[in-house]
């Protein structure tokens, strides 16, 4: 089922959580709402579920108005960050709950419920834990039970609120890959909220980046990562370096370099900010040719497969951060205090007006 969100606004007291947000989620896609805390992503998810009502705007499910529909009628599956399992019920009863509260006419028989729950237990790989209570499960197991419980009623839409937020790093990684595979199998329209950009990039078909109650950008993971539409998106996804300078008729002058910036062709001597990702800065020993900035190595740190290099630009005390693959760093044999050249391979320039 597709979801259309039209001009949704929502305030809590004086705080505007959502400001005129519109969004389309095509049927069968897995969409991530990504943003810092307070960006309105959870409010939007709860409005889609019907757990909150918007101050203005409409929600359409498959083109049909659903804004006034009760939570119970929306046929959404909702997975909470802290699982929200019924602790007095066994795993089996938790998963069966949605089926047993159906009105008599549409409620499946006992045997049918048992089969269905067992199939779901197989799906979440917890077949032998049907009789356990939630308190006896680990965090990852509880979240899988919560997911099975939501799927038992065959929801038209699956909504997940920071589903991996309460788990430790390794379980988180496993579970999000598992969720991706699961979605490839069942293809239910899904929206999940996260503040973890890596999670969004890895799991989602499309990413919606939100900030201060607005949508900053939506697109595929590679679109939002490679072509961020706003400085905020640049900042939020991955580590980034800022250069201040001016842009004039498609040419930006930053840190003594002339860079082409065709998207700012109409700018006239405008103050601008250039964004370069840490892994888009190359380090060279000799500064042959243009396009490289003289700098001094201040600090070296190996983080797993990458080496982080802090550089101080000569002639100023501004620091930039570069990330090199381990073998590249080994080849260069960098030493703290030595002079090198930093070459930005890719820079995106925004005229200062757009800046947040």
């Amino acid at each position: 089922m597709s979801i259309e969100i039209e001009g949704i606004s929502k305030s809590f007291g004086t705080f505007a959580a959502l400001k005129n947000v519109s969004l389309k989620v095509p049927s069968g896609e897995l969409v991530a709402l990504l943003g810092p805390s307070g960006s309105g992503k959870t409010s939007l998810l709860r409005i889609i579920a019907g757990l909150e009502s918007p101050d203005s705007g409409r929600i359409l499910f498959d083109g049909e108005e659903a804004t006034k529909r009760q939570v119970q009628e929306r046929q959404v599956g909702f997975v909470f960050q802290h699982y929200a399992l019924f602790r007095h019920m066994t795993v089996f009863d938790n998963i069966a709950f949605g089926l047993t509260v159906k009105p008599k006419k549409s409620r499946p028989g006992k045997a049918e419920i048992r089969d269905k729950v067992h199939n779901l237990l197989k799906l979440i790989q917890l077949e032998n834990l049907a009789d356990r209570y939630p308190a006896q499960l680990s965090g990852g197991q509880r979240q899988r039970v919560a997911l099975a419980r939501a799927l038992a009623v065959e929801p038209q839409v699956l909504l997940l609120d920071e589903p991996f937020g309460a788990l430790d790093a390794k379980v988180r990684l496993e579970l999000r890959r598992w969720l991706r595979r699961l979605h490839d199998e069942i293809h239910v329209t899904s929206v999940f909220v996260t503040h973890d950009q890596e999670e969004a990039l890895e799991v989602a078909d499309r990413i919606v980046v939100m900030n201060e109650g607005r949508i900053e950008q939506e697109g595929t993971p590679s679109e939002v990562y490679d072509r961020p539409a706003t400085p905020f998106v640049y900042d939020f996804l991955g580590s980034v370096n800022l250069f201040h300078g001016r842009v004039h008729e498609g040419t930006a002058q930053m840190a003594g370099l002339d860079l082409s910036s065709p998207e700012n062709a109409s700018a006239q001597h405008a103050p601008a900010v250039g964004y370069v990702r840490s892994h888009d800065i190359a380090i060279e020993r000799d500064g042959n040719g243009s396009g490289a900035i003289k700098a001094e190595v201040r600090y070296l740190l190996s983080v797993g497969p990458l080496v982080r290099v802090d550089l101080v630009l000569s002639g100023s005390d501004r620091t930039i951060e570069a990330e090199l693959p381990r073998d590249e760093a080994d080849r260069l044999q960098l030493q703290v205090g030595e002079q090198v050249y930093a070459r930005p391979r890719k820079m995106r320039v925004f005229v200062e007006d757009y800046q947040i």
Partner: protein
């Protein structure tokens, strides 16, 4: 458990010794004296003393009214706890404090107050009596006093459980298609039930043992509105010590079984606590 040289908590032997000594002095010795005094009666006399018609009537009044009061408290106590936890309103703190008042108020004060407002000329009694509802000096009055003193037990046991309940649990239930009633019956009530039962049992136990607040409103008519504790006092005043302790023994055994039930309930409620 406490033995071994590497125990992290030192002083097991003196602590246990003191505990046993203290409990013996304060609880066990007086209670066993009760049994010894009762044992001066022959079995026949004992049975006769505890099954006299007037005594049986007093059991009926005491346990019947206590049960009714505990049921009423079980229902309205949950309601009070629910309101105190779920809603915000001006004066909430005050109401919260009021709940504890029956704990703190001297029972005789409560008894006199209740008797005066429910009597024929009292604030409430003057409206109730013309309608044929006689509260003061009837078993109904006894139940009213028991409701009064038992309320905090239910509220104070249910309140923390309700506070712990996550709103998300209810949201999860409604997302799964449960209506308000199903959410309450299938999700909230089972979670609260052990606490409600504990509160119910505590309120019942307190009502059975209550004396001070009841005798003023009860009227104390033999066979009609005479409670068992009062009967014990009456026997003592007639220097019938053995008869008094015989009845007391019955009360003691009943109280003990009730406390046992409460403990079992609490153990059960911990079963699925996280």
């Amino acid at each position: 458990m406490g033995r071994g040289k590497n125990n992290v908590l030192p002083g097991f032997t003196p602590a246990l010794g003191y505990t046993i000594f203290y409990l013996s002095l304060i609880v066990l010795i007086p209670l066993s004296a009760l049994f010894f005094k009762t044992a001066t009666l022959t079995w026949g006399d004992f049975v006769a003393a505890v099954t006299a018609p007037r005594v049986l009537a007093s059991y009926r009044v005491t346990f019947g009214a206590s049960l009714a009061a505990a049921v009423i408290n079980g229902f309205f106590g949950v309601l009070v706890a629910w309101v105190l936890v779920r809603y915000r309103f001006p004066g909430k703190k005050l109401i919260d404090a009021l709940v504890d008042l029956p704990f703190a108020l001297p029972t005789a004060v409560a008894g006199i107050t209740l008797a005066s407002i429910y009597s024929q000329n009292g604030w409430l009694g003057r409206y109730l009596e013309p309608r044929g509802i006689k509260v003061a000096f009837t078993p109904l009055g006894i139940a009213v006093a028991m409701v009064f003193i038992g309320l905090p037990f239910v509220v104070r046991t249910v309140q923390p459980v309700l506070e712990e309940l996550d709103q998300e649990i209810e949201e999860a239930a409604s997302c799964l298609g449960a209506n308000r009633w199903q959410t309450f019956r299938r999700v909230l009530l089972p979670t609260m039930l052990p606490a409600i039962l504990t509160g119910f049992a505590l309120s019942f136990a307190r009502a059975v043992g209550e004396y001070g607040s009841i005798i003023f409103i009860a009227g104390n008519m033999p066979m009609v509105s005479e409670i068992t504790p009062l009967l014990i006092i009456t026997k003592l005043e007639q220097y019938d010590y053995a008869g008094a302790t015989a009845i007391a023994t019955v009360m003691l055994v009943v109280s003990f079984f009730m406390l046992l039930c409460i403990n079992l309930l609490q153990k059960w409620s911990r079963c699925f606590a996280e």
